[in-house]
């Protein structure tokens, strides 16, 4: 029945491409989450009036984040080719897409983390300080838990952007559903393959959005 609708689809390839997309998105997302929170915290804590106020560091991080956030992803991949070869040792395969995916997504997420942290009630931070809390206590027991819904909804948005990036990463031979849709679908004129790849990407996006929304609403006790 399915083969009537998608006559040109080779199911092993679809399965492989889906796995590649999930692999790239999953690993990149995890790294982005950690790196983004670190960068976001640094951006927040070194900003004016905060615990580690430091204009110099703040300006530098801010500039780096803005630059990498502004470079179109397809160009970023090309610019990062030497770096990728240095780190991964190859330019091919899903693994080779990871450095570009992480470097593209982490600054994007860092800004969202910064915004989330800014929304933490200043009074609560002041209250923690008045109790004699250390900066590390304030970070782990006040800033991160109090901004968690924003951090989760931010990573959801970032995850969906990352899926878009993985499709583009197909251009450098990273594999995945985007690559499949382009090479097997568009270039060989197999519209059914393109359509199926699109449906699968949409499905992944919906599932991620659903999980993200669910966790956010569970976390938010405001």
């Amino acid at each position: 029945m399915l083969s009537n609708w998608f006559p040109n689809v080779i199911w092993e390839n679809i399965w492989l491409a889906t796995k590649e997309t999930l692999y790239m998105t999953g690993i990149a997302l995890l790294a982005t989450f950690i790196l983004g929170i670190l960068l976001g915290l640094l951006l927040f804590l070194t900003s004016k009036g905060q615990m580690w106020e430091n204009k110099f560091i703040n300006v530098i991080i801010s500039a780096v984040v803005n630059i990498f956030r502004s470079i179109p992803f397809i160009i970023l991949i090309i610019l990062l080719i030497p770096f990728t070869i240095f780190v991964v040792g190859s330019m091919l395969g899903a693994k080779a897409a990871l450095p570009a995916l992480i470097i593209g997504a982490a600054p994007f997420y860092a800004r969202m983390v910064e915004i989330g942290l800014r929304e933490v009630d200043k009074g609560v931070i002041e209250a923690a300080r008045s109790m004699g809390a250390k900066t590390s206590t304030i970070i782990f027991k006040v800033l991160l838990p109090e901004s968690m819904p924003a951090l989760v909804s931010g990573i959801t948005v970032t995850a969906i952007a990352l899926i878009g990036y993985t499709a583009m990463a197909g251009a450098i031979g990273a594999g995945g559903l985007g690559d499949l849709a382009y090479k097997e679908g568009f270039q060989r004129n197999n519209n059914d393959v393109t359509m199926l790849a699109t449906i699968l990407i949409l499905l992944i996006v919906f599932v991620i959005q659903f999980i993200g929304d669910y966790i956010t609403s569970k976390l938010d006790k405001r």
């Binding site: 009074g123 609560v124 209250a127 923690a128 300080r129 109790m131 004699g132 206590t137």
Partner: protein, 345 residues
């Protein structure tokens, strides 16, 4: 317990033209152990900055702040954090962590102090009982009323057995009834635990209700201070008089007096001011018995303070001029303030 000497705080402003703002200006203040000390002032008077210097949330530009033997104005890092555990603070907007339950909010300062989990549990339960929140341990702040939130704030502030409790407009976001219940809780804690309480407010009602002594702040300076009853009796500064009026003269009094003066061309409308014990003596009875007068009570209000009561009473006396003069003399002998009201014209 608390000594401030020549404490000033200057905030530099961004623009070149405007002068730096002197939020607190050469303040000297001593607060005794076990005292409830109120600082009253309008917004911008510098009282917020002043109270934040007591736990080092602000550092003074000059002068020294000593609280419970620690020179807060000069210690830093670990010593300051340690000292802060003895100086708790509650806030106008409660500042609870929304992500934690009532129980976990109260446990937070204990976690900071590095108390073991089993002991934390015990202490939290004690505190919940102390502030009357039994059964609400598992609720999140968003599920509580304002008064309950402030109770959590108080429990949290008391967790590490502090020596001083700072109240930053702690009742300003609450309705009058809730305000009173929170104030009663503070008095109770003060008596039971012997805690020194410093509170800032713009409501004289709060001062009148729970404070032993009061300082009035204006433009960064303390313009007047003393025992609450003394300040009520003899407010020296214009601003203090205005604050005292907040609790003694309801808004409508003026209109009522005008109205009365129109209605009773005969006799006199007199304002009586009572302070301390004489509020309890039956003055009106004596007046009627001893003089040929008709006495009509127009309006009155007696306020309880921590050291006795304070009140004003408006009465209308009708009779011969001579009797009225004698009656006024008699009232003066009773240590009651008398002021004959006349029309505004």
């Amino acid at each position: 317990m608390i000594t401030l000497s020549k404490v000033s705080k200057v905030f530099s402003t961004k623009s070149v033209q405007s002068k730096p703002i002197k939020a607190v200006d050469e303040v000297n203040l001593t607060i005794n152990k076990g005292e409830i000390f109120g600082i009253i002032g309008y917004s911008g008077a510098g009282k917020s900055t002043l109270i934040r210097m007591l736990n080092g949330l602000e550092t003074p530009s000059s002068g020294s702040v000593v609280v419970a033997g620690n020179t807060i104005s000069s210690i830093k890092g670990r010593n300051l954090r340690k000292a802060r555990q003895e100086i708790s603070m509650i806030f106008q907007h409660f500042n609870l962590l929304w992500s934690r339950t009532v129980h976990d909010n109260i446990a937070f300062p204990l976690e900071i102090a590095g108390i073991k989990k089993s002991e934390r549990q015990k202490r939290v339960n004690e505190l919940i009982k102390l502030v009357g929140l039994e059964g609400r341990e598992g609720a999140y702040p968003s599920q509580l009323s304002g008064g309950q939130k402030q109770r959590v704030g108080i429990a949290r502030a008391l967790a590490n057995n502090p020596k001083v409790l700072l109240c930053d407009e702690a009742t300003s976001a609450l309705d009058p009834q809730t305000t009173d219940s929170i104030l009663e809780l503070l008095v109770d804690i003060n008596k039971r635990l012997g805690l020194t309480i410093v509170l800032i407010t713009h409501e004289m009602h709060v001062i009148q209700k729970i404070c032993h002594r009061v300082a009035v702040m204006e433009g960064g300076r303390i313009v007047e201070q003393g025992p609450v009853l003394d300040v009520f009796r003899n407010p020296a500064e214009q601003i203090t008089k205005r604050f005292v009026q907040q609790v003694t003269e309801p808004e409508e009094t003026k209109d009522t007096v005008e109205h009365l003066l129109e209605h009773y061309p005969q006799g006199k409308v007199v304002q009586l001011t009572f302070v301390g014990e004489n509020t309890e003596s039956p003055l009106i009875t004596k007046l009627i018995r001893n003089f040929q007068l008709d006495v009509n009570i127009v309006q009155g209000k007696i306020s309880q303070t921590q050291h006795g009561s304070y009140g004003t009473l408006f009465i209308h006396m009708d009779g011969s001029d001579e009797e009225i003069t004698h009656a006024i003399e008699f009232i003066k002998e009773q240590q009651v303030g008398v002021e004959v009201m006349s029309s505004a014209e």
